[in-house]
Amino acid sequence: MSANGDEAFKVVPVRHVGQWIGMVVLALFIAMFVHTLFSKIPSGARVCHRVSGRYVCHAQFKWRFGWNVIFHYFTNGEILRGLVVTLELTALAMIAGIVLGIIVAIMRLSHNRLMSGVAWTYTWAFRGTPVYVQLLLWSFIAFLYPSFAIGIPFTHVYLFHFNSNNVFIPFTAAVVALGLNEGAYFSEIVRSGIIAVDEGQSEAAISLGMTRGQTLRLVVLPQAMRVIIPPTGNEVISMLKTTSLVVVAGVVELLGAVTNIYGETYQIMPMLLLASLWYLIVSTVLSIGQFYVERHFSRGALRTAPPTPIQRMRRDLRGIASKYRTKRGVQVGVGS
C-alpha cells in the first residue's frame, strides 16, 4: 500500500515495553541462579602454604552445591540399593493399588447395595486418613492382630496360621500400606473413567448378547483407559515420591540411604540434592513412558495418533529443508 503512489507507509509495530522489562529481569534472575550453581563459597577452613620461609594463609573454598560430593556418591552402592528399593516399592504398591482400584470401582458401580457399600467405606477410610499414619498402623499391626489364620470363622479350626510380626516385616507393611492407600484413590480414577464411557457403548455390547463381564472387559474398560491413563501417570510419579515416607516403617529406600550417609558425613545439602536428582531422573523416564501409553490408548478416539517427539522432530527438519529448497529455487529464478 502506498500513500501517494510511490512511497509506502512505514509500519510501526506495537511496542511491548512491559514484556521486555519483565524478560530482562527474569533473565537476570536466571543468570544469578545459574551462577550460584557453579560458584564456590568459603568452607570455613583455612589453608596455609609456606612461601619463601613464611606461611601464607587463606580461606578454603568449596562448591556451593557440593557437586564433588554429589558426583562421588551418585552411584554409591548404598544409594543404588536404596533406589532399587524405591523402585520396587513404587511398582508393587502401584500394582496392588491398580488391581484393588479396578475391583473397588466395579464394586462401587454395582447395583448390589452391600458391594457398593463396602467399596464406599473402603474408599472413605483409606482416603480419609493420612498415608503416614497408615504406614505406622501397618507396621505395628501386630498390636491389633497378633496372628492371622485361614480357617473356619469363629472356630479354632485353621488351615494356615501365621504370626503378624513374621509377615509384616517393614517392607511388606510398607507395600500393604501404600497399596491399600493407592487403591482408594485409584478406584475413583477408574470409576470416573467408566462413567466417562458413553452408555450407548455398553447397550450395544449387551444387545449383542455379551455378559456384563464381557461388556466391561471388551468395550468399557478399554475406552475408559483413555481417561484413566493421564491421572495414572500422575499417581505413579506421586507414589515414587510417597515411598520416601516408608522410612518411618523402617525401610531403607533412596531417602533412607541418603540420610544414613549424611548422618555420618554431615553433607546434608549435597546428599538431599543427590536424592532429588535421582527422583527427577526416574520421574522423567516415567513421563516418557506415559506419553507412549497414552498414545496407544488414544487409538480409535482420535482420527490420527499424536506424533511422537521423534516424528515431530523429523517433520520439523523436513519443513526446514523444504523451505531452504524453495528459497534457493526462488533465488535461482530471480537470478536467471
Binding site: 458413553d198 450407548g200 457403548q201 447397550e203 450395544a204 455390547a205 449387551i206 444387545s207 449383542l208 448378547g209 455379551m210 455378559t211 456384563r212 464381557q214 471388551l218 468395550v219 478399554p222 475406552q223 487409538r299 480409535g300 478416539a301 482420535l302 482420527r303
Partner: protein
C-alpha cells in the same frame, strides 16, 4: 403352525411413576417388516427396548419367537430368567441404534467379529470371512481397518447393521436408524435396510421416514401416549388415516 415372531399383549412399562406404555398390543409375523411411527415420547423406543430385554416390562405378555421375554413358564409359575439365558436370547435379536454405538476402541472388522467370536464362540477366521461378506453387502468393502471415528455417519450406521447381522439374528430391531444422519446420508442406510427386508428378515423399525414405511413396511403401527392408536397396511394408515391424532401427526411430518 406359523407362529408370530413377536407378540405383545397388553404390555405396560413405567419409569419412576410415569407410564410410558399403557397396554400395547402388537403382532409381527415372520419375514415381515413392521414400522412403528409416532411422536417422540410416545413409547416407540421403549417398546423396542422391552423386546430386546434392555428394559423390563412391568405387566402384560411379551413373546419373541413363541417364548416369553425374560421369564419362563413352568407349570403355572413364571420363573425369572438368569443372566446367562437373557444374554442368549439377546444374542438372537439384532439391534441398531439411533447413534450407531459402534465400539470406539475397535476397528470396523473387530466391531463386526467381536460378537460372533466372544458370544457365539465362532472361530476367528470364519468370523472374519463372514464379516467381509457382510461389509460387501452393506457396500463398505475396504473399510475393515478404519476406526468408527474415521467414517461418516451413514458408513457407521451401515457397519452397525453389519455388526448386528453378524450374529445371524432371527429378528432385527431398528431404533430411529436414520435420525442422527445428514439428509444426504439417509438414503444409503435405507437402501441397506430395503435390501435386508427383501432378503426376508423380520424387522421392526422405529422411524420418521414415512417414504420408507410406505415402500417397505408390511404393517405400520402408530403409537401415541403409550397406546397403539392405529395400525394396518401402510397405504391405508399413511394415506387415509381414521384417527384424528394420526391425521394431525402426518400433516406435520409429511
Amino acid at each position: 403352525m406359523t407362529q408370530a415372531m413377536v407378540e405383545a399383549i397388553g404390555v405396560h412399562k413405567s419409569y419412576a411413576g410415569v407410564e410410558v406404555l399403557k397396554g400395547v398390543n402388537l403382532t409381527v409375523a415372520r419375514g415381515e417388516v413392521t414400522c412403528l411411527i409416532g411422536p417422540s415420547g410416545s413409547g416407540k423406543s421403549t417398546l423396542l427396548r422391552c423386546i430386546n430385554h434392555l428394559e423390563k416390562h412391568d405387566a402384560g405378555e411379551l413373546l419373541v419367537d413363541g417364548e416369553l421375554v425374560g421369564y419362563e413358564l413352568r407349570g403355572d409359575k413364571l420363573y425369572e430368567l438368569n443372566d446367562r439365558r437373557i444374554c442368549h436370547e439377546r444374542s438372537q435379536i439384532g439391534m441398531v441404534f439411533q447413534r450407531f454405538n459402534l465400539f470406539q476402541n475397535l476397528n470396523v472388522l473387530e466391531n463386526i467379529t467381536v460378537g460372533p467370536i466372544k458370544v457365539k464362540d465362532i472361530n476367528e477366521e470364519q468370523a472374519k470371512k463372514f464379516a467381509r461378506e457382510l461389509l460387501v453387502r452393506v457396500g463398505l468393502e475396504g473399510k475393515e481397518r478404519n476406526y468408527p471415528t474415521q467414517l461418516s455417519g451413514g458408513q457407521q450406521q451401515r457397519v452397525a447393521i453389519a455388526r448386528a447381522l453378524a450374529m445371524e439374528p432371527k429378528l432385527m430391531l431398528f431404533d430411529e436408524p436414520t435420525s442422527a444422519l445428514d439428509p444426504e446420508l439417509v438414503g444409503e442406510v435405507l437402501d441397506v435396510m430395503k435390501d435386508l427386508a427383501r432378503s426376508g428378515m423380520t424387522m421392526i423399525v422405529v422411524t420418521h421416514e414415512m417414504g420408507f414405511a410406505k415402500e417397505v413396511a408390511d404393517t405400520v403401527y402408530f403409537l401415541d401416549q403409550g397406546v397403539i392408536e392405529e395400525s394396518g397396511d401402510p397405504k391405508t394408515v399413511l394415506t387415509s388415516p381414521s384417527s384424528p391424532r394420526l391425521q394431525s401427526f402426518l400433516s406435520k411430518v409429511l
